[in-house]
C-alpha cells in the first residue's frame, strides 16, 4: 500500500491515478498509523507554500514526516516543502534538504510551464533513464542547487529538478504527468 499524504493540497487524485495505471493501490490519508504502515509515502502538491506548511503543522505532520523511514517522495510543492525555506509566503519549511526555495526572476516567462530536460541524474530514482530526458514542469518557485541535488534542469539558470537524502526523494517536475518517462521514474520509486 502506498500512502499519499492528504494536507488539502491539489493534484492528489492525479498521483493516485498514475499509481493505479502502474498497478499500485494507494490511500489518501493524514492518519499517522496508516502512513507508518504504508510501504511508500508520497507528499504530492499543487498549491501555495506558506498555506501548505500551516496545514502540515495543523495536522502535526511537520515533525512526523522528518522521522519517516520508508521511501518517501515529494512532488512539486511537496518537494519545496522538504527544503529549508520558501519565498512563497515567506515560510520556513521542513528542512530535510539543505536548499532554499526562491522565485524565478522575470527574465523568462514565469511560471516555468512545459517539458524541459533533466541533467546530471543521480540515484535510484533515475535508473534506466538517460539524460537529457524531458519531463513536465509547472512552477514559479525553484529550489537552488545543493549537495542533495540528484537531477538538474536549466531555466534561466540551473536549479534542482530532483533531490535525494537517505530515504527522502523529491522531484520538482510531475512524474505523474510526464508520459512514459515519468512512469519509469515512479516505477523506480515504487521498486525502492
Amino acid at each position: 500500500m502506498i500512502a499519499i499524504i492528504d494536507y488539502n493540497a491539489g493534484n492528489v487524485s492525479s498521483v493516485q491515478n498514475a499509481l493505479k495505471r502502474l498497478g499500485y493501490e494507494s490511500i489518501i490519508t493524514r492518519d499517522k498509523d496508516e502512513i507508518l504502515s504504508a510501504d511508500k509515502v508520497i507528499l504530492p502538491g499543487v498549491g501555495e507554500a506558506s498555506t501548505a506548511m500551516s496545514y502540515l503543522k495543523e495536522y502535526e505532520l511537520d515533525t512526523f514526516i522528518k522521522e519517516i523511514k520508508q521511501p518517501f517522495l515529494g512532488i512539486c510543492l511537496g518537494m519545496q516543502l522538504m527544503c529549508t525555506s520558501s519565498e512563497e509566503g515567506t515560510t520556513d519549511c521542513l528542512g530535510i534538504f539543505n536548499a532554499r526555495v526562491k522565485l524565478f526572476p522575470p527574465k523568462e516567462k514565469v511560471p516555468h510551464i512545459g517539458w524541459n530536460s533533466l541533467y546530471k541524474l543521480k540515484g535510484g530514482l533515475f535508473k534506466n533513464i538517460n539524460a537529457p530526458e524531458d519531463v513536465y514542469f509547472v512552477h514559479s518557485f525553484y529550489a537552488e542547487l545543493c549537495e542533495e541535488t540528484s537531477a538538474e534542469c536549466n531555466y534561466i539558470f540551473s536549479f534542482s529538478a530532483a533531490l535525494q537524502k537517505d530515504n527522502f526523494y523529491a522531484t520538482q517536475f510531475h512524474p505523474e504527468k510526464s508520459a512514459t518517462v515519468g512512469e519509469q521514474i515512479l516505477k523506480n520509486f515504487l521498486a525502492l
Binding site: 516567462k109 510551464i113 517539458w115 513536465y136
Partner: protein
C-alpha cells in the same frame, strides 16, 4: 531547454468528440478517450478539451468524462467551455483536470480569474481570448466569437495577467479555419507584452506555420484541431520537422 508545446484541441459535445478523425487504428472516432490516447502516443505535449455542450444536464456527462480522462492520460490536460463560477472550475479540477480555461465568463466577471487562482494556484487558470482585428485594433470577442466587446486585446491580456492567470490561450478569429497560418503580429505583441506563457491558436494549416510561429514570436505553444483530427499533419511528422528547423521540441 524549455520545449515549445504542440497541443491538439478536442471539441466535446454530450461526451463525444464532435469532429470525426480518420486514424486507421481507432475503432470509435467519436470517443474522446480513444482519440486522446492516440494523441498522447503520438507525442502531444498537452491536450485541451473544449466542451461545447449547451445544456446544464449534459455537464454531468462532462464531469464523468474528465474523471475518465484523468485515469487514462499521463500528460497534462485543460478543460474549457461553460465555466461560469468558482464551483464549476472546482468540480472539473476535482475530477482531475490539470487546468481550466475560462473565456466569456472571465470578461463578464474578471474576479473569477483571481478566485480560481487563489483557490487552486495560477497554474490552473488558462484565460482563453478570441480576438479579431477591427480596423487598427485587435478586439476581444465573447460567446464563441459572436459578440464584440469594448476590450482591446492588448489591454485585456495585461489585466488577466494581473488577476493571476497562469497562461493565455489566444485565438485569432481572422485566422481560425483558414489554414493560412497563425496570426503572427498579435501573437508577437501579446507574447512580448505579458510574462506568462501564451498559447497561439487559429490558422494552423502546415508544419511551416508552426515554424513561423515559433521563430517569429515568443509564443510558448501552438494549438490546433482540424489538421490533427483529419490526419493532414500527424504530430510525429510535425515534431520531426520542427526539430530539423532547430526549434526546441520534445521528442
Amino acid at each position: 531547454m524549455l520545449k515549445k508545446r504542440i497541443i491538439p484541441c478536442l471539441d466535446i459535445k454530450d461526451g463525444r468528440t464532435v469532429k470525426g478523425i480518420n486514424f486507421v487504428d481507432i475503432q470509435d472516432a467519436g470517443d474522446p478517450i480513444e482519440l486522446a490516447k492516440k494523441y498522447v502516443q503520438q507525442g502531444a505535449d498537452e491536450l485541451v478539451f473544449l466542451d461545447i455542450t449547451a445544456t446544464i444536464e449534459k455537464r454531468v456527462t462532462l464531469i464523468e468524462l474528465v474523471k475518465k480522462i484523468a485515469q487514462e492520460i499521463n500528460i497534462p490536460f485543460t478543460v474549457g467551455g461553460g465555466i461560469n463560477s468558482l464551483e464549476d472550475a472546482a468540480r472539473l479540477i476535482k475530477a482531475g483536470a490539470d487546468k481550466v480555461s475560462v473565456n466569456s465568463s472571465a470578461v463578464k466577471n474578471p474576479k473569477l480569474i483571481k478566485e480560481i487562482a487563489d483557490k487552486f494556484g495560477s497554474q490552473c487558470v488558462v484565460v482563453a481570448i478570441d480576438t479579431k482585428l477591427i480596423e487598427k485594433d485587435w478586439m476581444v470577442f465573447v460567446h464563441g466569437g459572436r459578440t464584440i466587446t469594448l476590450l482591446k486585446t492588448l489591454d485585456w491580456v495585461k489585466e488577466v495577467e494581473r488577476l493571476g492567470a497562469g497562461e493565455v490561450l489566444l485565438t485569432s478569429m481572422n485566422n481560425d479555419g483558414t489554414k493560412s497560418g497563425f496570426a503572427l503580429d498579435i501573437s508577437f505583441s501579446v507574447s512580448n507584452l505579458i510574462n506568462i506563457p501564451v498559447i497561439a491558436s487559429g490558422g494552423a494549416g502546415s508544419k511551416e506555420h508552426f515554424v513561423d510561429l515559433f521563430k517569429n514570436t515568443n509564443i510558448s505553444a501552438g494549438l490546433a484541431a482540424s489538421i490533427f483530427h483529419y490526419g493532414e499533419l500527424p504530430i510525429p511528422k510535425l515534431k520531426e520537422y520542427l526539430i530539423q528547423q532547430n526549434i526546441p521540441i520534445r521528442k
